[in-house]
């Protein structure tokens, strides 16, 4: 069954975006404000299944990147756009603030550099007296000697933002095609023909936002992509909500070799992330967690924090950063390929920068070549489905009276009702898989990790999609959950 937002094979577009991560979805949303036919392609079974799904979830304020870089420019701009963006998209945005914790004189000097840079960029920050810092964050380790605070640093749920962006794009007429790995690209007569697992599509402009696969995609049209992907894995622990022990994001002092280091991050849902490490990987798609990687996380978090309740971990995960051999974001038209734009190497602070990256790509790279007109009818906001545990008792009762499924709790850890799961399945770009439901409305995200609710979610998915439970998958095609019926 074809959804209204899926393209017809052979269809022609103005812009095809390869990769539905935060970069691709943000761009699809912003482009959907123009009179342009847009196609968003992704090789996975759901949108934003790569780096956007597995990262530190931080809207960095923008003090970290060096002057004169795209990262520096776009991080600051992007961070300033995020709060209103999340309001427009009805996505969670939590300004936790960040502490950078220095241990000893050498590191304190580095804080001064960061402070000066932040001041130049007009990013709010201040040194916090140690006594106050320790009363705010009693878990700071004894070795911490100085703390620089960035009160505007925030956390979001990156997957939610990407999904909401894609929904806005769809609402304005963009087409989205999943499970559509691009296998070849031909360039002729000013048009790009994309061969995909879901048929061929043609576009005047192609944006390569393929994350870790950006080099492979670029090589489909040129022998000289101008960059080489060198992805690095990051592994994390997720702690139970009841084990929350920090209020701010706690960073060590960043270093050239180790990047931002091992952090503690309070998430928008009240869990805490501990990680990441940073290891080069061969397999760009599905990194597992590793003994050494998690050991590195455990060994290093102790530098800034003490009594870290790692025994309250409910999950570990790994993500792959789309790092390349070039230190900055790559936002440029490919050499000799008019209208083929690489948006690559979008590693940290890519998430924070993404609203500004999207503007940059449109204003500097797309519009000068393709003068799309604004679409006065485009709606750039999204109405999110109801989330019952964020509502007042009166609101919940009104909803349950209308639809009793909102009163039937399926996930006890996160208090998710059947009505919310059904909404997540029926919405545009709705859930088709157990993990898809989990990413949208959280059953399985809690302490039991789906032990109780997964069978119920499988049942609801099968009913709503009108298929057998045997056809329901966890995530990708082939990730079946049930082997066979037991007579």
């Amino acid at each position: 069954m074809q959804a209204y937002y899926e393209p017809m094979p052979g269809e022609t577009f103005d812009v095809a975006i390869i990769g539905a991560g935060i970069t691709g979805t943000m761009l699809a949303k912003d482009l959907s404000a123009y009179r342009a036919r847009i196609l968003l392609l992704d090789k996975e079974n759901d949108i934003a299944d790569g780096a956007t799904m597995a990262n530190s979830a931080i809207v960095h304020a923008g003090y970290d990147p060096e002057d004169g870089t795209l990262k520096g420019l776009l991080n600051v701009q992007g961070a300033r756009l995020y709060e209103s963006l999340c309001r427009d998209l009805q996505c969670r945005y939590l300004e936790t603030g960040a502490y950078i914790a220095a241990c000893g004189e050498e590191e304190e000097k580095h804080l001064d550099i960061l402070k000066a840079r932040a001041d130049r960029r007009q990013i709010p920050c201040e040194f916090v007296p140690m006594e106050k810092a320790r009363s705010e964050e009693p878990a700071l380790s004894d070795g911490v000697t100085k703390v620089l605070s960035f009160p505007t640093t925030a956390v979001i749920y990156p997957w939610q933002v990407a999904h909401a962006c894609a929904q806005v794009a769809v609402q304005n007429g963009a087409k989205v095609c999943l499970n559509a790995e691009v296998t070849a690209i031909e360039h002729a007569d000013g048009l790009y023909r994309l061969r995909t697992a879901k048929g061929d599509f043609t576009a005047r402009c192609v944006v390569n936002a393929a994350g870790t696969h950006a080099e492979a995609v670029a090589r489909m049209v040129t022998d000289e992509p101008g960059f080489r992907m060198t992805p690095r894995k990051g592994e994390y622990y997720v702690l139970d909500k009841d084990a929350a022990f920090v209020r701010h994001i706690i960073f060590p002092v960043p270093s050239q070799e180790k990047g931002k280091g091992v952090l503690a991050v309070p998430t928008v849902y009240g869990n805490t992330l501990i990680g990441p490490n940073s290891d080069f990987v061969d397999d760009m798609d599905d990194p597992g967690t590793s003994v050494d990687g998690l050991k590195y996380v455990r060994d290093n978090i102790g530098k800034t924090l003490k009594n870290v309740p790692l025994n309250r971990a409910i999950r570990v995960f790994a993500g792959v950063r789309p790092t390349s051999d070039r230190p900055d974001f790559i936002l440029e038209e490919a050499k000799g390929l008019p209208g083929f734009i690489n948006a690559a190497s979008i590693e940290s602070p890519g998430l924070a920068s993404s609203p500004a990256i999207s503007r940059y790509v449109i204003d500097r790279l797309i519009l000068p070549r393709f003068a799309f007109e604004k679409n006065g009818n485009a709606v750039m906001t999204r109405t999110a489905p109801p989330v019952l545990n964020e509502m007042s008792v009166e609101e919940r009762n009104a909803l349950i009276a209308k639809n009793p499924a909102y009163g039937k709790i399926i996930c006890r850890c996160e208090t998710v009702s059947e009505g919310e799961i059904v909404d997540a399945i029926r919405a545009p770009l709705g859930a088709r898989t157990v993990k898809g439901v989990k990413k949208r409305v959280r059953p399985g995200m809690g302490r039991c990790q789906g032990g109780f609710c997964e069978p119920r979610v499988v049942e609801i998915l099968a009913r709503e999609l009108n298929v057998s439970p045997l056809d329901i998958v966890l995530d990708g095609p082939g990730s079946w959950i049930l082997e066979k019926e037991n007579r």
Partner: protein, 421 residues
């Protein structure tokens, strides 16, 4: 908005909640209700279709649902009201409860006494460091049990099990009987965590190998599990390089521990026991919050449902006593786990208000032979018992006589030590 008041509200309609409610009725507390989140009472028993329940209580071997059925009938006969599909979303220390149901919406009730009978959950994969991609094919044993016994689906055909907990052992047998091939069970510890009868009836009788001091260290397969690797561990439970064994399986079941479901208790500030991960309770099963009681696997994980029923009845009795005459009076005495004892429940006694004997439930931390079990207070030995054999998978009991309790002060320590021959 709906507001209702009860003398007692029991949260959870599984084996513990049913037994506690029946006892409340017996004790003359009439205005009570059980709030059960599922569509039927009985809790986890409903998916435990194997035999072996009720030997202590009914002197016969029943299946889980049959055992539950007896208690459900007793509850009905006693006139216990059970609200189904009623999920408790909030509890405060002054005993206000919010629950949600499709029929009634969001409902606030108050109660003079609350009994937590909320059960436990299985330690999930994330709490176990298995390396590899997050593919399908990894289930907790109870999840696979639910798919098979409640929904009628087999989750896989070639199975490996991590952890020798009882549900894992039961599922080894169950899946074998349904035609799956169970290639082995790995247990991190040098001894089994399951009951001896399950080791015999579920593994030995089916020639399923048990790998003690082994753990699963790696999984393979991007979408669905294709294979896994186990490794032997050293005395610090660290994998020993070179001991890798590979199994081609599509399914991994985890049976690596049960954790009391305690977020309601946590959220209202109830004092928790770090060892049991359930609330600290006194000899009436009252928690640190006045009028809030706890029992069942939400209090501490039991080995047999019979003991769940037994202890829950005592919690019901304790709540009834509280409703008649308030909380216990006088100074408290803590029962501390000493050498080789993991925990003791209940762990708070009131000597000046002792009404009868108190049975303390506990587990030892390692298998031991020729054990001397002693209860000491200050330097004095209050009680000493000899036990031939003690193992962590079996819950043990020791009775403290009323007269003995009346003379206590400070704390008592329960220790178990192997006697040298």
């Amino acid at each position: 908005m709906n507001k209702k008041h009860y003398e007692a509200v029991v949260i959870g309609g599984g084996s513990a909640g049913l037994s506690a409610a029946i006892e409340l009725k017996k004790q003359g507390v009439s205005n009570i209700v059980i709030l059960e989140k599922d569509g039927e009472p009985g809790g986890i028993l409903e998916q435990c279709i194997h035999n072996g329940f009720g030997l202590q209580t009914f002197r016969e071997q029943l299946s889980g649902p049959a055992y539950a059925e007896r208690y459900i009938r007793m509850a009905q006969e006693a006139g216990v009201e059970i609200k189904l599909n009623a999920m408790v979303t909030k509890l405060t220390s002054d005993r206000r409860i919010e629950y949600v149901s499709a029929q009634e919406g969001v409902v606030d009730v108050t109660a003079d006494a609350v009994i937590l009978a909320v059960g436990c959950y299985e330690r999930p994969r994330g709490a176990v460091n298995i390396m590899g991609p997050r593919c399908a094919g990894v289930y907790t044993a109870g999840q696979a049990q639910k798919y098979l016994n409640m929904e009628g689906y087999l989750v896989g055909e070639r199975v490996f099990i991590l952890g020798s907990g009882d549900i894992g052992l039961i599922m080894a047998r169950r899946m074998t009987l349904e035609g799956a091939k169970v290639l082995g069970v790995a247990e991190l510890m040098p001894y089994s965590n399951g009951l001896p009868r399950n080791m015999k009836q579920c593994l030995e009788d089916f020639d399923i190998p048990l790998y003690l001091s082994h753990t699963v260290t790696k999984t393979y397969g991007k979408e669905r599990l294709k294979a896994l690797e186990i490794q032997q561990v050293d005395e610090n439970r660290r994998p020993i390089p070179g001991t890798e064994k590979r199994f081609e399986v599509d399914t991994l079941l985890l049976s690596v521990g049960l954790i009391p479901e305690n977020h309601l208790a946590d959220a209202c500030g109830i004092l928790m026991d770090r060892a049991t991960r359930g609330p600290v309770v006194d000899d009436r099963y009252m928690t640190s919050a006045e009028g809030i009681f706890a029992c069942g696997n939400g209090l501490h994980v039991h080995d047999l449902v019979d003991f769940v029923s037994l202890q829950a009845a005592r919690a019901g009795e304790g709540a009834a006593r509280y409703l008649r005459r308030g909380s216990a009076r006088g100074e408290s005495v803590r029962v501390m786990p000493g050498a080789n004892v993991g925990y003791a429940v209940p762990s708070v006694l009131y000597p000046q208000d002792a009404e009868g004997d108190v049975e303390v439930f506990f587990r030892v931390q390692k298998p031991m032979d020729n054990v001397s079990l002693t209860l000491t207070c200050g330097g004095d030995t209050l009680k000493s018992l000899k036990k031939k054999k003690m193992i962590p998978s079996e819950m043990e009991r020791i009775v403290l006589k009323k007269d003995m309790i009346a003379g206590l002060s400070g704390s008592v320590t329960l220790s178990a030590e192997e006697m040298t021959k």
